[in-house]
């Protein structure tokens, strides 16, 4: 028995030795209180500046991590080509947290204390983003997220920034439009039980309430579900005019398809996830036609900035960008802007500069960062027309 304990002890030592990169300087007195040790006192001018991307790169949510990587990488590469920040190049380190908050926390610790990054994108997944908040706050490193859950910026951290509008911004615009412009009164909600889906459903209910309405019914489902007959049959009994979706791209598409097949003739509408090519692909162009959604950005927005972005994105990644690509590109642009201003260049100063940003023109609109870390509000209404996501322009 003791022999085995000894074996285990030896293993600890060996593994601890493996886990530590040989080049890392070992601070002999890394006592518990040295929270700001990430900000090394004298940055070597020649060394690249590191920023981290933590996100789901495998599993069901892998698309979200991939989009984040593409948007951020594009902005950083453009900056590097233009000479970098204060003469230093920017290096991106990418880590896969498998959308698991425990792994995300491990990685937040890693990028904060081992990679010593200047800032981190972490993550699109709301629960992982929330799990990482205390760590980045402790090390005073700016944390950028494109997760839409409203609670993310309500935790009192001065280091969290949401680079896209919060969830209510999507659902308020959507419901106001459907009620005030379209004149609908009878709504039904179907939302999944994940943090994202439940949030969307809650915001939709709140927006309806603000308009003096309430949903006829609200049904839930698990994120793995593929058959929604039970929920939809129940919803159709209440004869709604509008079916509001609150779930991922794929589940939203499947629900739209099954609702039509069960004879639903009314309006289908939803927030961010519905305004994606993936939704149209899953629902099928016929079913998706006429779906109303809200989005912070569409690739056919007429402005010069967007046109340039779409061309650059296509040239680099060989695909048309959707809004996650745009909002992470925006996030990286904001970050790079703040890094230019920060003097000396430390994560803490970058965060402070981020908070000062106002009137910054990005793809999604004009950014004004507030003390909570919200950077932008306002979404636009879109409609699926001819199998394409288009800006809603009346009839």
């Amino acid at each position: 028995m003791k022999r085995s304990i000894l074996f285990a002890l030896v293993l600890v030592v060996v593994l601890a030795a493996c886990a530590s990169p040989t080049t890392a300087p070992a601070p002999a007195s890394s006592s518990a209180s040295s929270a700001s040790s990430a900000a090394s006192p004298k940055p070597a001018a020649s060394q690249p500046i590191k920023i981290a991307i933590i996100g789901a790169m495998s599993g069901t949510n892998a698309v979200l991590g991939d989009w984040m990587k593409k948007g951020v990488t594009l902005a950083v590469e453009e900056k590097n080509k233009a000479g970098g920040i204060q003469g230093r190049q920017i290096e991106i380190v990418v880590y896969d947290d498998e959308a698991d908050p425990t792994k995300s926390v491990n990685l937040a610790q890693k990028v904060a204390t081992e990679d010593k990054v200047m800032a981190a994108f972490a993550t699109t997944n709301s629960t992982s983003a929330l799990a990482d908040i205390p760590i980045f706050a402790q090390y005073k490193i700016p944390q950028l997220t494109n997760g839409t859950n409203v609670d993310i910026t309500n935790k009192g951290s001065a280091y969290i920034f949401r680079v896209t509008p919060a969830g209510p911004s999507f659902e308020d615009t959507l419901v106001d439009f459907l009620v005030k412009t379209k004149g609908f009164k009878k709504f039904a909600i179907i939302a999944d039980t994940s943090a994202y889906g439940k949030g969307e459903g809650d915001y939709q209910e709140a927006a309806l309430k603000r308009n003096g309405l309430s949903a006829l019914t609200r049904e839930a489902f698990g994120i793995d579900d593929k058959d929604f007959t039970g929920q939809l049959t129940k919803i159709l009994q209440t004869q709604p005019e509008v079916l509001l979706l609150g779930s991922s791209e794929v589940a939203s598409g499947l629900i739209a398809k099954q609702a039509r097949q069960l004879g639903f003739k009314g309006q289908i509408a939803g927030g961010a996830a519905v305004g994606t090519p993936k939704y149209i692909e899953t629902a099928g162009a016929e079913v998706a036609e006429g779906t109303i959604f809200t989005t912070p950005w569409l690739h056919d927005e007429g402005n010069e900035l967007s046109r340039k972005f779409v061309n650059a994105y296509k040239a680099r990644w060989n695909e048309t960008p959707e809004f996650h690509g745009a909002n992470t590109y925006d996030g990286a642009s904001l970050l790079l802007f703040a890094m230019e201003k920060a003097n000396p260049l430390t994560p803490e100063n970058v965060a402070a500069e981020m908070h000062k940003i106002s009137g910054f023109k990005g793809l999604q609109g004009t950014f004004n960062v507030n003390e909570k870390g919200e950077t932008i509000t306002g979404t636009l209404v879109g409609i699926v027309k001819g199998g394409q996501l288009t800006v809603y322009t009346g009839k």
Partner: protein
């Protein structure tokens, strides 16, 4: 809609998804019966089988666009081949205790899932139905052609399998080998060959389920987990190792999910299905159609 047609509509949805579970459960059951192996990688085999068929249908192999029925057959055959190969790999696992079996097959599932991500990417795709999307409405109940196809072909496959096992020489040999390995071996039945065939049939059925359901669901490597678990639940609920049990278990589980979503609480759909299942097992520990357990583990 009358309340009867509402009930029937919900029921049809449950039967559709239940057929999918049943075909997957059949794979679990056949392999368990003949080899005593509880194959937790079966969900992954189902996922790979789906890809094996759908890649042809979507023209992902050298741009070759193949009609759906042919893609269906190719998928089943390719997955059966994979099954033959996997049987060889799994053979040593069949004699281990349940937990090692669990871990070993889960390890294999890991390998298959991540190979699929490497080969086909994690994002996945939607599949167009080869049949019209317009539902057939009978008495207020909307029947989706693809769902009907899934139900009917599943039923045919299940009947076919039963006939094959009952009538054909090979099927009889399989049953004998499943009941008593040593005796069957002594009687000159090549047990390893029958096991390989059983594995191939299990994998083929999983591929059939996946390809039939693909236009209704969505295809990505992560699809293995949910169906793998629910297929396993169906296999246990019906009675491990029983062929009719797997079918009954699959249908009951699917219908249970649909009815609890439609009439009880859509938040607790999965919870209700599991709790009912546990209660059934408390009353009938060997499952609904459970043959008195010959504990192979």
């Amino acid at each position: 809609m009358t309340s009867l047609s509402i009930f029937l509509q919900t029921l049809v949805g449950g039967i559709g998804i239940g057929s999918l579970y049943a075909l997957v459960a059949l794979g679990y059951s056949m392999i368990y019966r003949s080899m005593g192996l509880v194959n937790f990688a079966h969900g992954s085999i189902y996922m790979i089988g789906t890809y094996f068929g759908i890649i042809w249908y979507r023209g992902m192999v050298m741009g070759l666009q193949v009609p759906y029925p042919i893609a269906f057959v190719i998928g089943i055959l390719l997955n059966a081949l994979l099954g033959l190969f996997l049987e060889r790999l799994f053979r040593p696992l069949a004699h281990l205790d349940l937990m090692l079996m669990l871990l070993g097959t889960i390890g294999l599932g890991y390998v298959l899932d991540n190979l699929a991500v490497i080969i086909w990417g994690a994002e996945g795709f939607a599949v167009k139905s080869p049949l019209p999307n317009e539902p057939i409405v009978i008495g207020g109940v909307a029947l989706l052609p693809q769902m009907l196809l899934l139900i009917v072909v599943s039923a045919l496959l299940m009947i076919g399998l039963n006939v094959f096992l009952a009538r054909s020489k090979m099927g009889k040999a399989m049953r004998a080998a499943a009941q008593d390995r040593e005796t069957a071996s002594a009687m000159g039945i090549p047990v390893n060959t029958t096991n390989a065939l059983v594995f191939a049939i299990g994998a083929g059925l999983a591929a059939a389920a996946g390809i039939l359901a693909a236009p209704i669901v969505y295809v990505n490597p992560a699809m293995s987990a949910a169906v793998g678990l629910k297929g396993f639940a169906a296999f246990i609920l019906g009675g491990a190792g029983s062929i009719p049990g797997a079918i009954v278990g699959g249908l009951v589980f699917g219908v249970l999910e649909a009815l609890s979503a439609g009439f009880v609480s859509s938040q607790y759909t999965k919870g209700i299905a599991f709790v009912v299942m546990i209660l059934v097992l408390m009353i009938k520990p060997a499952g609904i159609v459970g043959e008195v357990t010959v504990d192979k583990v």
